[in-house]
C-alpha cells in the first residue's frame, strides 16, 4: 500500500501539488492497469514528486464517446472535468493513458481547460535525466530482448516516439524494433472506441496481427505505454499461448522493477 494524496487532502492542507496524476478509468478499475497505476505512483513517491490524484472526483475524459461520435457526451464530460480541474487550479497533469493525454492536452483547451499535459513516459524520462532514477545496473532486464509498441494516441497522434524509447535505453537490455514502428506502428485494435465493442467482421483481430510482429521480433518483453494496448497485447500473447515466453509490461512497471520499487 502506498500513500496517495488526493487533491481534496492537499487543498484542505493548504498545499498545491507540482503535478496532478490523472489516473484514467482503465488505470482506476482494470486490474492489470491498476498495477501500472501503482507502479507509477511508487515512482513518483520514490522521486519525491509532490503529486496528487483526484480520487473519486475523477471522471472519464469522454475520449471513447468522442471517437464513437457522441460529441454531446464528450463535451458534457469535458466541461465537468474542466470545472473540477480549474476549481483546484491545476497547472500540470501527468497521465499513464495516451487517450486521456490526447484528450486533455488537445481537446480541452478549446473548452476552457488549459493545462500542461505530459505522458508518464515523458515524466519518467525527465526523472532519469535528472538522476532521480537509476540509469544503469539494469539487472532485471539485462540482455533481455525488449520491443516497444507505440500507442497510436501517443505516437502518430502527438508525435511522442522518443521518450518511451529513451526510458528503455537505460536498461542494459537488447532493444529491438518491430517492422512496423513509430510513424508506421500498427494499432493494437482498441482505439476509436473499439475497446468497447466487438470488432467488425474480418479475417482476424488487429491484436493478433500485431502479435505476429512481436513474434517476428523475438522479443521477450513487449513494452507498452497505454492501458488499452496492454489489454490487447496481453490477449494477443495469450491467443498464441506465449504467456511463458513473452511478458507484456508498461514502461512504468519496467522502470519500477529496475529501481526495485515493485
Amino acid at each position: 500500500m502506498i500513500q496517495v494524496p488526493t487533491m481534496a487532502d492537499m487543498m484542505a492542507a493548504g498545499e498545491e501539488p507540482e503535478v496532478l496524476f490523472w489516473v484514467g478509468c482503465a488505470g482506476s478499475y482494470d486490474e492489470r492497469a491498476q498495477r501500472v497505476t501503482q507502479a507509477f505512483a511508487k515512482i513518483l513517491t520514490h522521486c519525491n514528486i509532490k503529486f496528487a490524484v483526484l480520487g473519486t472526483e475523477e471522471n472519464c475524459t469522454g475520449d471513447p464517446a468522442k471517437r464513437a461520435g457522441n460529441e454531446f457526451l464528450f463535451q458534457m464530460q469535458a466541461m465537468m472535468n474542466i470545472e473540477v480541474l480549474n476549481g483546484y487550479n491545476i497547472k500540470k497533469i501527468v497521465t499513464a493513458c495516451p487517450h486521456c493525454f490526447n484528450t486533455i492536452k488537445n481537446e480541452y483547451p478549446n473548452l476552457g481547460g488549459h493545462y500542461e499535459v505530459i505522458h508518464h513516459t515523458q515524466l519518467i524520462q525527465e526523472l532519469i535525466d535528472a538522476g532521480k532514477l537509476k540509469t544503469e545496473n539494469g539487472e532485471p532486464f539485462k540482455g533481455k530482448k525488449i520491443t516497444y509498441h507505440d500507442p497510436c494516441y501517443l505516437g502518430r497522434a502527438n508525435g511522442v516516439y522518443e521518450a518511451p524509447r529513451k526510458v528503455l535505453e537505460v536498461l542494459d537490455a537488447d532493444l529491438v524494433e518491430m517492422k512496423r514502428c513509430k510513424q508506421n506502428g500498427l494499432c493494437c485494435g482498441a482505439g476509436g472506441a473499439q475497446m468497447f465493442k466487438e470488432p467488425e467482421k474480418g479475417k482476424k483481430d488487429v491484436n493478433i496481427e500485431r502479435i505476429d510482429d512481436v513474434l517476428e521480433s523475438k522479443a521477450e518483453v513487449v513494452a507498452v505505454g497505454c492501458p488499452f494496448c496492454m489489454t490487447m497485447m496481453k490477449d494477443g500473447v495469450k491467443h498464441f499461448e506465449k504467456e511463458q515466453e513473452i511478458e507484456v509490461l508498461d514502461i512504468a512497471e519496467i522502470t519500477a522493477r529496475n529501481n526495485n520499487l515493485i
Binding site: M1, V4, T6, V23, C25, G27, S28, Y29, D30, T37, Q38, A41, G55, T56, E58, N59, C60, G62, P64, A65, R67, A68, G69, N70, E71, F72, L73, Q75, M76, Q77, A78, N102, N106, E107, N110, C152, Y153, R156, A157, G159, Q183, N184, L186, C187, G189, G192, A193, F196, K197, E198, P199, E200, K201, G202, K203, K204, D205, V206, I208, E209
Partner: protein, 450 residues
C-alpha cells in the same frame, strides 16, 4: 488506314507550307483547351463548395512551409522508397519539361522555331536537361506500369479499384510514354535536319538522348520535316488534351496537391474538432442562464451526405490519386475488414460528382434521395475504424479520411441513435458512472488500497 495517313500528310503539308494557317490552328486549339479546362475546373470548384465553411487560413507561414515541403518537396513520398524515388523523377521531369512547353507555345503562336535558342550555350544545357529528364520520366513510368501490370501490387487492387480507376491509372502512364516519346523523336528529327542543313532548322540545342534515335530516322528532308512537325503537334496537342483529361482523372492531384497541403489540418493528428453547435447546447444544459446563439434550421450533427462535410474534406476527395498507401496501412483493412480509407475518399468524390451531375441536369434544388452514408459508405465500414491515424500519416498529400469517418459516426450516433448495443452501454456507463465500464464511481480510488 493507308488513306488516313495520306490525309494526315496532305493536311500537314498544307499546314507546313502555310505558317499563318498553322498559327491560327494552334491559337484556336490552345484557346479551346483553356476554355474547356476552365469550364471543368469551375464545376469542380462548385462541387467542392457544396461543403460547409471551415476557416483554415490561420498560421499562414506554417501552411506555406507545409505546402513547400509536402507538395513541392514530396517529403512524404519517400516513406516508400521505390515508388517515392520513381515518382520524384516523373514529377521533376514533368515540371521542368514544362519550360519546353512554354517555348512550344510561343513558337506556335508566333510561327517561330526554337525561339529560346538565342540563349546559346544555356539553351543547349536546357535542351540536354529536358532530354535526360524525359528519359528518366520514361524509366519511372515503365517501372510504374510494371508495378501495376506485371507485379500487380496488392495496393493497386481492392473493392474500390473497379475498372475505371484501374484503367485511369494505365491511361495516364501510357499518355506520358507517348508524350515523352514524341518529344524525343521531335528533337531527333530536328537534330538530323540541323545536320542536313535544312532551312529554318538552325543549329540549336544539344541532344544527349535523342541522338541515339537518329539512325532510326529516314534521311529524306521532307519526311524528316513531316516527322518533326508531326511530333511537335502531337506533343503540344497531347498536352492540351491531357490538361483536359485531368479534371476527370485521379491525375488531378498534380494541381490539388498544392492547395490540399496548404489547407490541411495543422493541429496534432489526435485532436478531433470540438463541435461548436454542441458546445452551445452543453453549456446551456450545464448553465441554464446561458443563451445559445441561433443556429441554422437545417443544421445536422455530423454528416449524412457530402453537403454536411466541410469543403476541405471535399477538396481532399478530389485530391486523392488512389495510391492506396492509406488502405495498405489501415489496421482494419489489413485484418480483412470492409473499411478502406481510399474507398472513403473515392466514395466522397463520386457522390459529389453525382450531385454535380444532378445540379447540371435538374437544377440545384434537386434531391435524388441518395446519400453518402449507406448508398456509398456502409455502417460496417465506419465502425471498423480504430481512429489510429495510420491513413492520415500515410497520405503523401495530407488527406484526412479519418475526419470523414468521424463525421459519419457523429451522424449515426447523434441524429439517429443508430449504434451497436455495446457502444450504447459504454455511453450510458460514462453518463451514469463516469467510466466506460460498469463500475461504481465510489470504487475509483480503490487501487491505492491494494
Amino acid at each position: 488506314m493507308h488513306s488516313f495517313f495520306k490525309l494526315i500528310i496532305y493536311i500537314s503539308s498544307i499546314i507546313n507550307s502555310n505558317t499563318m494557317l498553322a498559327q491560327i490552328i494552334f491559337i484556336l486549339a490552345f484557346t479551346l483547351a483553356i476554355v474547356a479546362f476552365t469550364i471543368s475546373i469551375r464545376k469542380i470548384i462548385r462541387n467542392i463548395n457544396l461543403g460547409k465553411d471551415i476557416n483554415r487560413t490561420d498560421h499562414q507561414a506554417e501552411r506555406w512551409k507545409n505546402m513547400l515541403k509536402v507538395a513541392l518537396g514530396q517529403s512524404k513520398m519517400t516513406a516508400r522508397p521505390v515508388a517515392g524515388i520513381m515518382h520524384i523523377l516523373v514529377y521533376v521531369g514533368f515540371i521542368i519539361i514544362n519550360i519546353e512547353v512554354l517555348e512550344i507555345i510561343i513558337d506556335g503562336v508566333f510561327g517561330t522555331h526554337r525561339v529560346f535558342s538565342f540563349l546559346g550555350g544555356f539553351y543547349n544545357f536546357l535542351i540536354a536537361s529536358f532530354e535526360i529528364l524525359a528519359l528518366l520520366v520514361l524509366l519511372g513510368v515503365f517501372v510504374f506500369l510494371a508495378r501495376r501490370l506485371v507485379l500487380q501490387l496488392k495496393r493497386f487492387s481492392g473493392v474500390e479499384m473497379t475498372a475505371w480507376p484501374k484503367s485511369d491509372a494505365i491511361y495516364i502512364l501510357v499518355i506520358e510514354v507517348l508524350l515523352m516519346s514524341a518529344f524525343l523523336t521531335m528533337n531527333a528529327a530536328d537534330y538530323k535536319l540541323q545536320q542536313a542543313g535544312a532551312s529554318h532548322y538552325t543549329l540549336a540545342g544539344s541532344f544527349p538522348v535523342s541522338q541515339f534515335i537518329l539512325p532510326l530516322l529516314p534521311t529524306d528532308i521532307n519526311t524528316l520535316i513531316f516527322i518533326e512537325r508531326f511530333c511537335w503537334w502531337f506533343h503540344i496537342l497531347g498536352i492540351l488534351a491531357f490538361l483536359n483529361y485531368l479534371p476527370f482523372s485521379k491525375h488531378f492531384h498534380i494541381i490539388l496537391a498544392f492547395p490540399n497541403t496548404w489547407y490541411a489540418k495543422l493541429a496534432p493528428k489526435g485532436e478531433f474538432n470540438n463541435m461548436e453547435t454542441v458546445s452551445h447546447e452543453v453549456k446551456a444544459m450545464l448553465n441554464p442562464s446561458y443563451t445559445p446563439p441561433a443556429i441554422e434550421a437545417n443544421n445536422k450533427f455530423g454528416a449524412k451526405d457530402v453537403q454536411d462535410l466541410n469543403w476541405v474534406q471535399l477538396m481532399n476527395a478530389y485530391t486523392c490519386t488512389e495510391c492506396g498507401r492509406c488502405t495498405s496501412s489501415c489496421p482494419a483493412n489489413i485484418t480483412g475488414k470492409l473499411l478502406s480509407p481510399r474507398k472513403i475518399m473515392m466514395d466522397t468524390r463520386d457522390r459529389m460528382e453525382e450531385i454535380g451531375r444532378n445540379i447540371d441536369k435538374h437544377g440545384k434544388d434537386y434531391h435524388d434521395g441518395k446519400s453518402l452514408l449507406d448508398d456509398y459508405i456502409s455502417r460496417e465500414e465506419i465502425w471498423a475504424c480504430t481512429t489510429c491515424n495510420a491513413c492520415v500519416e500515410a497520405c503523401p498529400v495530407n488527406i484526412d479520411p479519418l475526419s470523414i469517418i468521424l463525421d459519419l459516426r457523429r451522424y449515426a450516433v447523434m441524429e439517429e441513435s443508430n449504434v451497436t448495443g455495446s457502444l450504447n452501454a459504454m455511453f450510458s456507463n460514462i453518463e451514469n458512472n463516469g467510466a466506460p465500464w460498469k463500475y461504481s464511481p465510489a470504487d475509483r480510488f480503490n487501487w491505492a488500497n491494494k
